[in-house]
Symmetry: C2
Subunit: 396 residues, 2 copies
């Protein structure tokens, strides 16, 4: 018999995907260039040439059995060394290869992190607004995701509610900064206070509470914003990184788990990741992609377009009277809808070929997300549509 | 707290890996060319030039956002179509893209297959000798792996014991033909009889029993051997394929699940795979690798060296009096050791720099495996060592 829980999931189609399909269909009618598709968080800028050059050079010169051979289950040793050295250089923590596990993107990294520190029934806390895929990621691992409601004034952490929800059953707290969908970057003050709470509760409950830090947007930070390194604040931090956004490689499934070198069980935890892989069919990310990213670790795609787009949108939205926290990074912005029901709001926007995502599944009803990883010209062309929509429907 | 079951696994180091590490260490002493390392099933022949050319051409000409962008969760549509067309051409079953789910190698494919059809506590049956990784693959999915002991005369299926063990709790039967470690290919007669048993029991128990067919060695079949398509015999077959061996790409993690088009729930099952992925951090195999294998689907690396090596070893082993079923495919051979305790036997062989793997963990104590995916010259140079070992230790 087919397993019911997965069968049931088939009917619950993601809102984002539905909207993205609508955008594609509408594009076939009026030309996709005329659809202002803010639905998908799919990087739009080119992969750095150095990555492509590295791939071609290896393909032209390397022995194929080296290039395409099995990677050790923790990742290729030289790649782990390079990642550790880069992290040490950037963040000043003494990372060594023993702290690095190469994973298939952030999703792969998180799948390992949850299984490292939670038994079935244990709780994982995260903070709204949050990436809706955290639900299947956590829930299907056997743990239970609980969501701390947002502080909508700043989209930093709502500490009062956190302290209530942080019971003995919580084994891990999951943060995502810079944040999808709010675009907000957690401040040093927020991270310090979070670390203090976790340290205090770990002591009180007699067990570690791990901080799982999902950092795919780490490199997309806008001028004037400081993006502190989460691991620097709390020893028991498991960093989950992906190159999807920084190098525009979402399809190549490459990232890593980096356990804080100051975490007392760091090396054991990395070795355990290799065991977890055996159960989930993971078996390390593609060899050639590991080798290629290792050659461009300190580079990124040209991410400046995201800041340009953010400024265009932020200025227009605030001018139109939207309540909106200015993003410090990512390629998302997260304004409050102009009516209580953000689903209805986004539905009405469709008539103006504006594809906006209502934020109910992000844990912040009443808000909506715009993913502005699209061409700046298209953002510019969308502004009159946005003005028209707001004027005609809401009289502003 | 760290999860104990994964921590415990750290102490149970695989015998194959220990032997492979011994071989590497010994290689540093006497030169690796003098170590007759038959431990690892790592393809030794070059990747087809057409694959490398396809990769380079795409890197030189394609838009990077297409080439490295997110793949749909079931795999890139054109790739699924190409795989389906190739399977239909070769095996005459009406495969369409709706039956294909692109996976990260056979390990990834199997991880999805087990989760499709088993709830925690359900049983999966497989046949000794078997690939030892099946244990963590199945057991960590929540199901329970039970092993039908071997028919050591032929290494086909031991049907008498199968019929006893095939209780109502069994939801899936897992076969691997051509087989690691025996090298044996299941005959049409075996597969027909297996299908009859499964059909009969499915009816009797009132639930489907799925046949999961792990086929990474499908393309490595030796002259004179017929390798029947497992799916042609039984409608409820889930084929799990990997390009690791056929294209010598084990590190690139590329394969697929192909659900038999005659299976009544085929399309639903493929869609369910996309849901299972969300829980195990899978998220499709690397985009560029999907696109590249689609261009060389009907090609293989030059696999003839494996047959050459097999004949050299089979002739020498039988000449020396080893009991041994002649392999019909793969790059393994599986003789009976010259003493009851095959661990002791393999231990003694180490003194002759012969790295042989005792078969206890393969479910066939008393036997040993040789993985002859090494240079033919090295196989030839190993024969005097084999003769010397057998003569000095066993007086033959």
């Amino acid at each position: 018999m087919l397993v019911q829980k997965y069968k049931d999931m088939l009917s619950g189609k993601s809102v984002i995907r539905q909207l993205s399909e609508f955008a594609t269909a509408r594009g076939q009618e009026i030309g996709y260039e005329n659809v202002f598709d803010y639905s998908l968080g799919n990087p739009s800028v080119a992969v750095p040439k150095a990555f492509t050059d590295a791939m071609i050079e290896m393909l032209q010169t390397e022995d194929t059995s080296v290039l395409h051979g099995y990677s050790p289950s923790l990742g290729i040793t030289s790649v782990r060394e390079a990642v550790a050295a880069s992290l040490e250089r950037r963040f000043g923590l003494p990372y060594r290869k023993e702290h690095i596990f190469m994973a298939s993107g952030a999703a792969g990294a998180l799948a390992h992190a949850f299984r490292l520190v939670t038994e079935p029934g244990d709780e994982v806390l995260t903070f709204a607004p949050f990436f809706p895929e955290y639900h299947p990621y956590v829930d299907l691992s056997g743990a239970v995701l609980k969501v701390v409601p947002p502080d909508t004034r700043t989209f930093q952490i709502n500490f009062d509610v956190l302290e209530e929800m942080l019971t003995e059953k919580v084994m891990a707290v999951l943060v995502n900064t810079p944040n999808n969908p709010s675009g907000v970057v957690y401040s040093a003050e927020t991270l310090k206070r979070l670390a203090d709470v976790l340290t205090d509760r770990s002591r009180r409950y007699g067990h570690e509470i791990y901080l799982i830090s999902d950092e795919p947007y780490r490199e997309i930070v806008f001028g004037g914003t400081e993006a502190p390194c989460v691991s620097a604040f709390y020893d028991n931090t498991i960093m989950c990184y992906s190159f999807s956004k920084s190098l525009s490689l979402p399809g190549e499934r490459i990232g890593y788990v980096a356990v804080n070198p100051r975490c007392k069980d760091a090396e054991t935890m990395v070795n355990m990741c290799g065991q977890i892989s055996r159960g989930i069919g993971h078996n390390c990310p593609p060899s050639i992609i590991q080798l290629a990213v290792a050659k461009v670790l300190d580079q990124t795609a040209d991410l400046s377009v995201y800041e340009t787009n953010m400024n265009l949108l932020y200025n227009e939205l605030t001018r139109l009277g939207f309540e909106c926290v200015k993003p410090g990074g990512t390629f998302y912005i997260f304004p409050r809808a102009l009516e209580e029901d953000s689903v209805a709001f986004c539905q009405k926007a469709l008539k103006y070929d504006l594809i906006l995502v209502p934020a109910d599944t992000f844990g912040a009803p009443g808000y909506f997300r715009m993913a502005y990883c699209i061409e700046t010209k298209k953002v510019e062309r969308s502004l009159p549509a946005l003005r028209k929509f707001v004027k005609e429907i809401y009289g502003r």
